[in-house]
């Protein structure tokens, strides 16, 4: 994705070993667009851990920034900001080590397995409604909840992780669908004036999170 973004004129920087889009136009313009309407960011670089087995439905206390997304009984996806990756991994490994032989726990780094896109802004629910058959309302999909769905028949997981007052959704699919998903979301958001945003704007928005 980063290579493709670079080809389109985005400014690409290396952050924690990852080629990351800093901004597409300017961070200020992108922030304004996200706050006013809707924006899309590639967050595939965020660490993701697959925790299986044992009682992984009831994970231990993790880093405060970690996202815990139950997939099905005995299967949980854990995400966290890149700077918390080592700490979260250690916490999970400790948890797996402590699990008994009768109910072993397996932790895998699946960062590379999933593409993660963040759809954020007041219109993000509307854009999501053009992609997936899910009820993205506050009551059906509240903050920090997640749901499995299909985007044009491609399996996806949608997790709500608001940026303070701004609704925001993380969309996870297999990495092989990454570029296609990006194009599809951008197209679905045309009528809402969707704007891609980079890590600079994203970090500012993340700061609004309690």
């Amino acid at each position: 994705m980063a290579e493709r973004c670079a080809q389109s004129g985005a400014t690409v920087v290396v952050e924690r070993g990852w080629e990351t889009v800093s901004h597409y136009t300017s961070p200020e313009e992108e922030l304004e667009a996200v706050r006013r309407s809707v924006g899309l960011a590639d967050l595939s670089r965020i660490p993701k851990f697959d925790v299986r087995g044992g009682c992984s439905d009831t994970l231990p206390e993790l880093d405060a920034q970690a996202g815990i997304w139950p997939q099905r009984p005995g299967e949980t996806l854990v995400t966290c900001p890149p700077e918390s990756a080592a700490a979260v991994r250690e916490q999970l490994d400790r948890y797996a080590s402590a699990a008994g032989e009768d109910a072993p726990v397996y932790v895998s780094d699946v960062t590379a397995v999933y593409t993660a896109l963040m759809l954020a802004g007041p219109e993000s629910g509307n854009v999501l409604g053009r992609l997936a058959d899910i009820d993205a309302s506050d009551t059906a999909l509240p903050n920090l909840d997640c749901v499995q769905t299909g985007v044009h028949h491609v399996h996806a997981m949608v997790a709500r992780q608001d940026l303070g007052p701004l609704p925001a959704y993380l969309i996870f699919t297999g990495r092989e669908y990454g570029e296609w998903l990006w194009d599809t979301v951008m197209l679905a958001g045309v009528s809402c004036g969707i704007q891609p945003f980079g890590s600079k704007a994203q970090q500012t928005l993340e700061a609004a999170r309690p």
Binding site: R52, D133, A140, H152, E179
Partner: protein, 890 residues
């Protein structure tokens, strides 16, 4: 009440002739105001037809608008510059020579072509002419999907608590009530403005304004205007198609509602009398719409066909609009409408009443099709003269006139009607009362068979205009009552929608390997494999032939070293202490006993012993296996494994990691030297044998290496985390530069594997192939404990094979059969080729084919069709290249 502002005018083209329109006009209204009276020609008899309902229900205004056929112009907003043209006319709307077919309709009674063209050659000969002469608009020609000119369609999803269908007073009231109770409401209305019939009745203007204003201001109410619900499915799913206000393509909206309120009101349907289809005959609601919505006076002198208060109301409206109302006559007094194309009078027992407008106060039919679809019943009510909805499902309710509120019959039922070839029961399909009677006398006396035989109610209106009349005719002819005759089944889509809207956006999912852009930079020529984009080969020069390019890549692999992206291979990690048990249960070979660090070819069969998939299984640790599958079967294999795991209680965890791994295969005599520059793993055969696996680093990236050989040369499959893929790919190409490394594509890979006689499941096998017939009996271990397909495979092992997969070498130079070519024996088909390619090492084509068991003899000569002619080939069971497999073990 007219919504058009005379000051805002624009024009559009009707057959290249400009038509002036006012803001708010529909196309049909602007055309009518400009003096156009004939809008279409009828389906079969090419009779002129004019505006009838002005509500988008009847077929009388279907025209081609900006290339889109079958647009209902009476409700489609006019836009500046749009191009409107008639359809199904020859040569013109005003003068259609095919209207002469009316003179010969005695030759074409209902069902005539079923009885006449009973021989296929005759039907094949006449069918094109019938299709040309009859029918509706033609589908637009196929447009290059990459030109950007073809329409694109949107779809979206709406979840709501209450869906209200219909924006009339009942729908608005229901929406307000639900909103007041705190529900999220989605109001779906066909019209551009809320209000339903209140929009065009002047006395209701204030009521409409208040109700619509309250709904628009209500909390949690979303209004979908110009939207029609075409299907009400299980669990509150509604199919809704919405037309954009500013033109463009319709969009499909999937609405999921916990509760559905159907307030779709009534539809006015025509009455039966001779020449009831002439231009100038209009339904009373159509007249109300023309006057109320567009300020158009529909005629100069009118006869009203109707009775009671409705007829009186229409008479007042016409008089107020300056129309001379010549008479109001009861429906049973009308003998016929007179006129050639345009109505010029109404004939009654008392004589002809001259007029240019006949206003019919028709049947008011509850628009209850969706309630019927939802599982409700439609029962006849003598009191209301209508079929009314009953026994609705719990989450569906009806409101307003669709329930029969305030309905009275327009005429007694079943109605009287003339047995006439010019009394049209079905305007869409040109079915007359005479046709219906004939069909009933031929035995099609059930309403459903009558519908199928005559096609009544099967046209664009889907029965909205004609169902009540056809039921009436059937009831009268058979002597049954209306209730006994019943209604035909309502099925979605009703109304019709375009296939494009159903298909949705043109963004079929595409899978890309992590190396996609590397391939692009190297000049990859792409091929689609399922959803994957894969390089077919890499073109060094634009003018090189495929054969030359493939040979170049081929020789690199056979003589030096090549590298191919195998990222699309399915990749699954199976972990847990019982993983071996599961693999032993699902695969035909043994895997519980496979040693860590070893790889084994793996086949999955179903319960009948049919091959489902193949791949490799590597044991990375005691409780950790790494599986590869064919590209297209990944999802199936994951599901299959999970299916057979259910209820076992085994400690097994299955994870699809395909997208997370970048995978390449480095193969060729120099492969070891290339990889040795990038890894500390000892690649010498003594330390890293054929069919072994190791974990380590390649170019600094954590990697799993499998020593396997699909292309028949010493080689390693290298799997690294996807994010390192580009780095490792570039490193391999750089390290291999001095050895003449080349990337190779799928086409070259297919030649290389075919020379080794390696089977591709799904290409060389089909839904009946088993391991014995596919010449890979060694993959089944019948002596192991039970596994899927064991019993069947045991039987198949000892049974005589029907067919066998054989290898063959072409004996004639330059003859390369296409995949799928026939194998011939004594001039008769005796098998089929699954794969064939030119083999550079053999200097002739080689291939795989299924032939009957008795034919599958080593050295036997067979014929294979090449270019439509038989060419000689010889059966060869051994691999065509390195049959002992020495090069794999170097």
């Amino acid at each position: 009440m007219a919504q058009a502002s005379p000051s805002e005018g624009f024009s559009f083209l009707l057959n290249d002739k400009p038509i002036q329109a006012k803001a708010g006009d529909s196309i049909g209204a602007a055309m009518f105001r400009a003096g156009v009276r004939v809008f279409t020609r009828s389906f079969k008899h090419h009779r002129p037809r004019g505006l009838l309902c002005v509500a988008g229900n009847c077929p009388n205004c279907l025209m081609n608008v900006d290339g889109t056929p079958n647009v209902r112009v009476c409700t489609t907003p006019a836009r500046p510059g749009m191009r409107v043209a008639p359809q199904n006319v020859f040569p013109s709307l005003e003068f259609d020579v095919l209207a002469a077919s009316q003179k010969f309709d005695w030759l074409m009674p209902v069902g005539w072509y079923y009885k006449t063209f009973t021989r296929r050659p005759v039907w094949n000969a006449v069918e094109p002419f019938i299709r040309k002469a009859a029918g509706l608009g033609e589908a637009p020609p196929s447009i290059d999907r990459f030109s950007g000119e073809d329409p694109d369609y949107e779809q979206r999803y709406v979840h709501t608590e209450v869906a209200v269908l219909g924006g009339g007073p009942s729908g608005l009231t229901a929406a307000l009530e639900a909103s007041r109770q705190g529900s999220r409401v989605t109001l779906i209305d066909e019209q551009p403005q809320l209000g339903g019939h209140l929009r065009f009745t002047p006395s209701d203007a204030e009521r409409r304004r208040v109700l619509a204003g309250q709904v628009e201001a209500a909390q949690g109410v979303e209004v979908l205007s110009r939207a029609q619900c075409f299907g009400l499915y299980e669990d509150g799913l509604l199919g809704v198609v919405q037309l954009p206000r500013d033109g463009g393509e319709e969009s499909l909206i999937h609405v999921r509602a916990e509760r559905v309120v159907v307030a779709t009101g009534v539809i006015e349907a025509p009455l039966l009398f001779e020449n009831n289809d002439l231009v100038g005959v209009m339904l009373s609601s159509g007249v109300e719409r023309l006057i109320g919505l567009y300020g158009i006076v529909p005629g100069r002198r009118a006869v009203i066909v109707g009775d009671g208060p409705r007829a009186g109301r229409i008479a007042s409206l016409l008089k107020d609009s300056g129309v001379d109302v010549a008479a109001t006559v009861r429906p049973d007094q009308v003998l016929s409408v007179t006129g050639a194309a345009q109505a010029d009078g109404v004939r009654t027992a008392g004589g002809k009443i001259p007029c240019d407008l006949v206003v019919v106060c028709g049947h008011l039919v509850p628009n209850a099709g969706l309630l019927h679809q939802a599982g409700g019943s439609l029962d006849w009510s003598d009191e209301n003269g209508a079929f009314l909805p009953t026994r609705l499902p719990p989450h569906v309710e009806a409101a307003g006139q669709v329930k029969g509120s305030d309905l009275t019959a327009a005429v007694p039922s079943p109605p009287a009607y003339p047995d006439s070839k010019r009394c049209y029961a079905c305007l869409c399909e040109d079915v007359t009362t005479s046709d219906l009677r004939t069909a009933i006398r031929e035995g099609f006396d059930h309403i459903e068979t009558l519908k199928r035989y005559t096609t009544v109610s099967m046209g664009p209106c889907q029965g909205r205009m004609c169902q009540i009349s056809s039921i009436g005719v059937c009831a009268r002819e058979t002597g049954g009552g209306m209730g006994e005759t019943g209604v035909t089944t309502s099925r979605p889509p009703n109304p019709s929608i375009s296939l494009g809207a159903l298909a949705g956006p043109r963004h079929p999912p595409v899978k890309r390997s992590p190396l996609h852009h590397e391939h692009e930079a190297l000049g990859a020529v792409w091929m689609n494999m399922g959803q994957w984009k894969r390089p077919r080969y890499y073109a060094p020069e634009p003018d090189w032939s495929e054969q030359r390019i493939v040979e170049r890549e081929y020789r690199a692999v056979r003589e030096r070293v090549g590298v191919v992206d195998v990222g699309p291979l399915g990749k699954i990690e199976v972990r847990g202490r019982d993983s071996g048990k599961l693999l032993d249960k699902v695969y035909t070979h043994r895997f519980g006993s496979l040693k860590a660090g070893r790889v084994r070819y793996a086949v999955i069969c179903d319960e009948t012993g049919t091959i489902l998939d193949d791949g490799t299984i590597s044991r990375l640790a005691d409780d950790h296996y790494f599986l590869t599958t064919t590209t297209g079967n990944l999802e199936f294999v994951v599901q299959w494994l999970e299916w057979w795991l259910v209820e076992t209680g085994w400690d097994v965890h299955i994870a699809d990691v395909t997208g997370g791994r970048s995978s390449i295969n480095v193969a060729g005599p120099k492969a070891r030297e290339v990889l040795a520059e990038l890894t500390d793993i000892d690649l010498e055969t003594a330390a890293f044998k054929y069919m072994a696996c190791r974990r380590g680093e390649v170019a600094g990236a954590p990697a799993v290496l499998l020593r396997i050989g699909f292309v028949g040369e010493m080689g390693w499959e290298v799997h690294v985390p996807a994010d390192y893929g580009v780095h490792v790919w570039r490193s391999v190409l750089a390290a291999g530069k001095e050895h003449g490394i080349l990337p190779f594509g799928v086409e070259t890979q297919r030649v290389l594997r075919l020379e080794k006689k390696h089977v591709i499941v799904g290409v060389d096998t089909d839904a009946l192939s088993n391991p014995y017939e596919a010449d890979i009996p060694w993959v089944t271990k019948l002596e192991k404990q039970d596994f899927i397909g064991k019993a069947s495979l045991g039987t198949l092992q000892s049974a005589a094979a029907n067919e066998r997969l054989i290898g063959f070498t072409m004996l004639e130079d330059g003859k390369v059969p296409e995949d799928g070519s026939s194998v011939m024996l004594d001039g008769r088909p005796a098998g089929r080729v699954t794969s064939a390619r030119y083999s550079f090492v053999n200097g002739t084509a080689v291939g795989l084919a299924w032939v009957s068991d008795e034919l599958a003899e080593e050295g036997r000569e067979i014929d294979v069709r090449v270019g439509g002619k038989p060419a000689r080939a010889r059966i060869q069971q051994a691999a065509f290249y390195d049959p002992e497999g020495r090069r794999l073990r170097m």
